[in-house]
């Protein structure tokens, strides 16, 4: 294997794949970055086994030459050393060449490194992209729907399946659901796909992977292709492939758990409500569960209160835009409420309650692509 690449290009690309490399891996080969050259360019791969990132550097792009491939082949180099080395190389170009027994020479300007490489055969095999079974979504929309759901995944390993976001693809629609069993976030979005029959009922993507994916995506309207394979999901943006393993097991059917009726409904300004809860929670944080209490009042206002025996009490009054139904006193976690309100992306939110011990549902007043459900806190 031999190629010559612009140093800056190489540094950038290595940095991209380094995002997937972890020093705490039990699989020795994953401490390395895989480099593969072929006629049309160079591919770098990094992986911590949960996620893998593949970066492709084409020989030529937009009439600009990035890399010169002299000999195809592949090698795995220790990620920590390789990334540090390329950052500090003196020349504007870097030549990488592999010799016998995986000996690898890196040359740039006046400097020459000889590294012991590892056998690329040892590196995990990532699934190949199947072009026919993919769907696409705009990068910025993808980031939004990750943001609107991933915060609600469970952080506890007691029910591992809940540490992921469940993606359900049916009839050109993607439905994302996340719950830690105390609250639930769901978001629906239309996707583009080459075939109408595309159906994936139970794809559970680890929340951590989606958070990482979100970091490497641009806020652009460019399409991201998504392919779901036997055990991985992969996201393909320009010159970058992001793989994530999927969670094993069946995601619980949450659709039946979301109440459809309501006894009390209110419309309230998202921002005002959020700020009121935020203030009330200053003291609530002291209480162990960060609990605030919402009480309906007679003048169309609601009172948010919190009482922390060690610190004191707080009362906040917020006017509702509209209010219908029974009076209500309900306690809930201020954190969950704020988390939900922060991702609603709407100026007014509709909240539907069905009782003090039942989940309540938040939706934007003008649409139902987002649904947030919160379980109340029981007081004694």
């Amino acid at each position: 294997m031999k190629f010559i690449m612009n140093r800056d290009q190489l540094v950038d690309s290595v940095q991209d794949v380094m995002k997937a490399v972890s020093t705490r891996t039990t699989i020795p080969i994953l401490t390395g970055i895989k480099i593969e050259t072929h006629e049309d360019g160079v591919t770098l791969t990094g992986s911590d086994s949960d996620i893998s990132i593949e970066r492709f550097i084409p020989v030529e792009e937009d009439g600009y030459e990035h890399v010169e491939v002299e000999k195809s082949g592949s090698i795995v180099l220790q990620a920590r050393f390789f990334s540090e080395i390329v950052k500090k190389l003196p020349g504007s170009k870097v030549e990488v060449e592999v010799f016998e027994r995986f000996g690898t020479r890196i040359r740039s300007g006046s400097s020459e490194f000889n590294l012991n490489g590892l056998d690329p055969q040892e590196y995990p095999r990532l699934p190949e992209v199947q072009e026919n079974d993919k769907f696409s979504i705009q990068a910025d929309l993808l980031k939004t729907l990750i943001r609107q759901t991933v915060f609600a995944v469970s952080t506890s390993e007691t029910r591992p399946i809940l540490t992921g976001v469940n993606w359900h693809i049916l009839e050109g629609e993607l439905n994302c659901v996340a719950t830690d069993s105390h609250r639930l976030a769901s978001r629906v979005a239309a996707v583009e796909s080459t075939t109408d029959e595309l159906e994936h009922p139970n794809v559970v993507i680890p929340g951590k992977s989606l958070t990482e994916l979100s970091k490497i995506l641009d806020d652009s309207s460019a399409l991201v292709d998504i392919v779901i394979t036997e055990s991985q999901v992969l996201f393909k943006a320009k010159n970058i492939l992001f793989f994530s393993r999927l969670l094993d097991g069946n995601y619980p059917d949450t659709s039946k758990l979301i109440p459809s009726d309501s006894k009390t409904e209110m419309v309230i300004s998202t921002k005002e409500f959020l700020q009121a809860i935020d203030r009330a929670s200053l003291l609530a944080k002291e209480g162990r569960n960060n609990v605030v209490k919402l009480s309906t009042m007679e003048n169309g206002q609601v009172e948010i209160s919190s009482n922390s025996p060690e610190v004191g009490k707080v009362f906040e009054h917020v006017s509702t835009e509209s209010f219908e139904g029974d009076e209500l006193k309900i306690s809930f976690s201020a954190k969950y409420m704020m988390d939900a309100l922060k991702v609603m992306d709407c100026s007014e939110v509709l909240i539907r309650f069905t009782g003090a011990m039942r989940p309540f549902v938040l939706t934007p007043l003008d649409g139902n692509t987002i649904k947030q459900l919160i379980l109340p806190v029981r007081t004694y």
Binding site: E122, P124, S231
Partner: protein, 328 residues
Amino acid sequence: MNWNTLADRQPYVVKLLTNSLKKDRLAHAYLFKGNKGTGKRKISIHLAKAYFCRVKKDSEPCGECPDCKRIDSGNHPDVHFVAPEGQSIKIEQIRQLQKEFSYLGLESKSKAYILEHADRMTSQAANSLLKFLEEPGQETIAVLLTENPQQLLDTIRSRCQILTFAPQSQRKLIESLTEENYPVQLARTAAALTNDQAEAEEYLNDEWFVQARKNVLKLGEELFERPQRALLALHEHWNPHFKEKQQVEIGLDLLLILYKDVFLTQLEEEHSIVYNDQQNILSVQALQSSQSRVRTQMLHILEAKRRLNANMNLQLLMEQLVLRLQEG
């Protein structure tokens, strides 16, 4: 290596596994039990290869493909080995495994894990493992290896298919060791400690082991002939040589063999004696002591071995043992 060569030593186990492979009816979890050196690990690795190899013929993995090779090198992303870290297999290790197994495999849906010395799981780790033995993933196989199956939770044992590994014949091992030009006395000693040839050779190549045998015999002699000086002998011959826990464990095994040899002499089973260059001492001791006394002494040594695993202070442990051996 292939199933055939493995079947030489473990015909029953190999037959069962290859049959299940052919019928594609592997169990979710196996418990391999058998003495050290009976090939549990080798067979578990071969089983993993047979499970993952995509070009296997019948039940025989090719041994050449990336799957097979990476199982050997520990780089296969969907095959996980867990062994005690220090004293025990810790909850963090099982948690890591659990996390790994809450995911689908990296390359396919299949996953495998091999747990060495499964009996050394902390009770918390064992309980945690139990949870996912109860709900195995679709295409997961677990292989638990142990020399002490009785120390595993019943609930774990009952969820595994148990395969018993036959001990390798000592005579065969001694023969092949002497063929390799190892002195017969030492070969007999090493073969008494392990059934595994490679491990026996490792002992025999270690100067420490040769000296260990001498020191144990020296201590034995003192215990037999000048019991009042035994504590002194302990400090002179034992403590300087047996410093690490594992060394003490070998020392205790060697000492146990000595008492066993006395017992065998009493039973007139001289052909089974390990230290047969010590027959003079052995027969004197066999006459002077009673069978029940020797049996009690052997139990004391076994008890000391058990305490060793409970992490007792090594010197104290040996002093107590020597005092008990004096008392009988």
